[in-house]
């Protein structure tokens, strides 16, 4: 299973990025191979529609869960219809590695 985590930097020590569509990096974590992939967010500076564009990018990677600080109002119905699970974590102190460890529980 693949999980997307929004990250503020490109290393496992980076903190969770609170915004989904405008995060700095998307981390695609594979729970089977334990591989981590850092994708720079191409829509970070876009004026409008960053969230929906990001959803398309993430969905094309076959992700089934997304961990972020918040999701925009347009994103919820989109992810619902794609059957992608949203996990809202209101904790900016957590690093990507912390979240990966939690996922591995």
């Amino acid at each position: 299973m693949k999980v997307c985590i929004t990250s503020s930097g490109n290393s496992p020590d980076s903190k969770l990025d609170n915004r989904f569509g405008r995060c700095s990096y998307f981390v695609i974590y594979d729970t089977v191979t334990l591989g981590m992939e850092f994708l720079p967010n191409p829509y970070k500076e876009i004026e409008e529609g960053a969230g929906t564009a990001s959803v398309q990018l993430i969905a094309s990677r076959g992700v089934s869960k997304i961990v972020s600080g918040e999701f925009g109002i347009k994103i919820k119905p989109l992810l619902d219809s794609l059957k992608i699970q949203m996990i809202v974590l209101k904790n900016e102190e957590k690093s990507i590695q912390d979240i990966v460890d939690m996922l591995n529980h």
Partner: protein, 137 residues
Amino acid sequence: MNNPPHFRGFKPIGMPEENHPVVMNYEEYEAIRLSDSVLLGQVKAAQAMGVSRPTFARIYESARRKVAQAFAEGKSIVFEGGKVYFDSEWYSCKNCSCWFNHPAKEDKVTECALCGSSDVEQYKEDSQQIGITDKDC
């Protein structure tokens, strides 16, 4: 739409399997459910489904005709598609204090999607308050 039906349709008793079932959209199912099961007025039911009242009336009319047709002619009903999305339910985890929704409604939620703790609770109120903001982000 809140509750997708947990079944795929209806079959009449004592009729042979036939190839022409009545196809009912989910929005038609929901229109009948809201009007005749939950007993909402048309205006409220239309709001609940996010459509205008005339549109709701149209969906409802079509739904009733389909039910009547199946009933009168002994046809089966199958639910299929339509322009709907399913509103998912939200849960909170007391261990890692995260929120998560649950797209696969058929399965029961027993553990946190993030930390795997079993200390989870279903969120009762309007889920718009948590995590979901009206910012375009």
